[in-house]
């Protein structure tokens, strides 16, 4: 049935895989109607999908450097697009994004624009040129373009800070989902998540991660879109929610008027005992906040996320795996298309979820009903037990008001199918999707960090004579060490998932964006300029984060500081990146122009055809 090589058969293989997954969903639906418990269905969903990823990881094992670092540079455009989309869409995107839109409204949606608009920067400024360069890792480009071990080490340092912040958040998300789906403690969930992540990446490096990420994308997109379309037709939103929810958005506006958007005082919330992390609706669903500051807050967040996107190494390195420069460019467009499918659905899910809870005309509506009735609803009981939802009767009238209903943002994705009365098999599917999203991003990040350490620090700086076997042993050992360290830190649950995800973007943009872009677009950029830019950018960004984030600033200065110009801890890249740019330009102009060999290298990387700038085996 399979003629020709593996690459030629990819559409067939993943077609079969998708069909198999559909059959599995149907089997689970049959099992549910035959009386298998909800918990067991959740367990089977997660176990089955993770088992498949591990199997793909095992099949993709390799002993070749080229396959381990860049998947042999033979990943076709569309498949690389899917893998990048899975690499990109993290547990936070999957689980928390719709919840963020649900509570944060318009201003929060700057994340949506930021996390998609960044790909225009990737495609125009970086991906094709880095692909032509022929490097294995992002610091490999910086180290070769600017020349020297010190600048290479500086970029590894930035990569490490940005990606490690991100990976702890992902392992945290894997743990949360595993613990809920399997009914085990969070700490155990973290270690189970880690083992699954390592099985997918350790034996085959980039090759294994690529093919598991494609499989994970298929699971996560089915798990996200199926409930959105189903709920939409169930609540009468129309069969194609993206184009048809205008009336529903307007209806939410009316209901907001009817119930009133009330802000609770902190004292009230404290005395009612609202658990930490739970939120209530206090802002309009589709309204735009007034004033120049609100505009600036939106734009600065969007800018940070866009520029950060274009500097995150685990994304850029995916474009090193395509067969050609043209393929790299095309696959950026495909990545964005696959990402768009999920991101454009998040606001629709938030709308449907909000309407289901708010509209008294719907059977699922709870706002405006008697609190005793609401507390008797099965899903309310189940999610109250785990402190994910909470009711506080502030005015004592026994009726649930909009400001008296609290829930965690994640609930929007995880519980909406249940709320809308979909069968549990859909909730099981959503758990599997969340797990796929968190695992695929964690895989990409752990690999980005360990590849930079093994290639740029160990092979390029410490032991350039190391043979292939030794290089790959070091790479794998580092992979395990990074994973274990990430899981260990994640098990302390230091920050909320989203806080640290945004930080990764700000770190990457502070230290890497301009050294990368100017490396291609400005021949005059020198090694000294790059070193100065990276170091001042990352340092100023980090210092500002310590200054502005209350938990840190209270620990260091004893007081919390007001953000300067509204630049809070989510946006500290707005400080780091400009400082990096100015320093880099000034220092470059003060130092000697790069030599002819370097200038020729830059010229070569601007020409799309021909051989890579640095040789194949390096």
């Amino acid at each position: 049935m399979f003629k020709g090589g593996f690459i030629q058969n990819l559409p067939k293989i993943y077609g079969l895989y998708t069909g198999g997954f559909a059959v599995f969903i149907i089997l689970m639906a049959i099992a549910e109607s035959a009386g298998v418990s909800a918990k067991n269905i959740g367990v089977m969903f997660v176990a089955f999908t993770v088992g498949i990823y591990a199997f793909i990881g095992y099949l993709s094992r390799t002993v070749q450097v080229d396959a381990y670092y860049v998947a042999g540079r033979q990943v076709p455009t569309v498949f690389n697009g899917m893998a990048t989309a899975a690499d990109w869409m993290s547990g936070a995107s999957f689980v928390a994004l719709a919840g963020g839109v649900y509570f944060g409204g318009y201003t929060y949606m700057a994340f949506l624009v930021g996390w998609t608009g960044g790909y225009v920067l990737v495609a125009t400024l970086l991906a094709p040129y880095l692909r032509k360069f022929g490097c294995y890792t992002v610091p490999d480009f910086i180290g070769t373009r600017y020349g020297g071990n010190f600048v290479r080490a500086c970029s590894v340092f930035v990569l490490f800070i940005a990606s490690f912040t991100y990976v702890t958040a992902q392992i945290n998300a894997t743990g949360t989902i595993a613990s809920r789906a399997l009914g085990i403690p969070f700490e155990a969930g973290v270690w189970i998540g880690l083992i699954s992540i390592l099985i997918c990446s350790m034996l085959g490096g980039m090759r294994a991660v690529t093919w598991t990420q494609v499989a994970q994308y298929i699971v996560l997109i089915v798990a996200y879109l199926l409930p959105v379309f189903w709920i939409s037709s169930k609540v009468g939103g129309g069969i194609f929610p993206h184009l048809m929810l205008g009336d529903e958005v307007a209806r939410i506006g009316e209901l907001e008027q009817q119930f009133g958007l009330v802000k609770n005082s902190a004292a009230d919330m404290k005395s009612a005992g609202v658990p930490g992390g739970l939120k209530y609706i206090s802002g309009p669903h589709s309204g735009v906040p007034e004033g120049a500051m609100a505009v600036w807050k939106y734009l600065s967040l969007a800018i940070c996320m866009m520029v950060g996107t274009a500097s995150l190494p685990h994304i850029l390195m995916r474009y090193f795996t395509t067969p050609s420069v043209k393929a790299a460019r095309r696959s950026v467009a495909w990545s964005l298309f696959f990402i768009f499918l999920l991101y454009s659905s998040a606001p629709m899910l938030a709308t449907l979820s909000k309407l289901s809870l708010m509209d008294p005309n719907l059977a699922t509506g709870i706002i405006g009903k008697s609190i005793a009735d609401v507390q008797a609803i099965e899903w309310v009981q189940r999610w109250s037990e785990v402190k994910q939802v909470f009711i506080a009767d502030f005015n004592g009238d026994g009726i649930l008001q909009l400001n008296e209903w609290f829930m965690r943002g994640d609930v929007v994705v995880l519980a909406t199918p249940e709320v809308a009365g979909l069968p549990f098999v859909i909730s099981g599917l959503v758990f599997a999707g969340g797990m796929a999203a968190a695992m695929s991003t964690a895989d990409g990040l752990v690999l980005a960090i360990s590849n930079a350490l093994s290639h740029d620090i160990y092979y390029k700086i410490i032991d350039p004579k190391a043979d292939t076997t030794k290089r790959l042993i070091v790479a794998r050992a580092l992979l395990v060490i990074i994973g274990v360290a990430g899981a260990y830190i994640a098990s302390f649950r230091l920050t909320s998932i989203l806080g640290s995800v945004a930080w990764a973007f700000d770190f990457a943009m502070s230290g890497l964006f301009f050294p990368l872009v100017l490396g291609v677009w400005w021949k005059r950029a020198t090694r000294e300029g790059a070193i100065a830019g990276i170091l001042t950018g990352i340092t100023s960004g980090l210092v500002y984060l310590l200054y502005v984030y209350p938990k840190f600033s209270v620990a260091i200065w004893g007081v919390a500081h007001d953000p300067w110009l509204g630049i809070d801890h989510l946006r500290f890249g707005m400080i780091g990146a400009p400082i990096c740019l100015v320093t880099m330009v000034v220092v470059s102009l003060m130092t000697k122009e790069p030599d002819d060999a370097t200038q020729k290298m830059v010229d070569d990387c601007r020409v799309p055809s021909g051989r890579p700038v640095i040789s194949k085996q390096h």
Partner: protein
């Protein structure tokens, strides 16, 4: 001007055009959020629609357009790559 320089000049111009479009859909539109929201599209308030879906879709279209245009530029200067590469 050598072939290489001409190719790069054209590539650069193309980059500026793409980034101008990008800037419009990511920044300029949202400078006028309150004004835009008084208009409506598909029944959605316009600024809400753009941030939830419209700009995202615009980026996808921009990228596919930008990619094929860049490929034309590469062909024009003889830097095209084989399809089966």
């Amino acid at each position: 001007m050598s072939n290489k320089d001409a190719h790069w000049a054209k590539t650069k111009n193309h980059m500026y055009v793409t980034l101008a479009l990008w800037f419009f859909f990511s920044i300029v539109l949202f400078m006028f959020g309150t004004e835009l929201n008084t208009m409506s599209f598909l029944g959605y308030p316009l600024a809400y629609y753009m941030t939830a879906q419209g700009s995202l879709l615009a980026f996808v279209i921009i990228l596919f357009w930008c990619t094929s245009k860049q490929e034309d530029i590469d062909e024009e200067f003889g830097y095209g790559e084989r399809e089966d590469d």
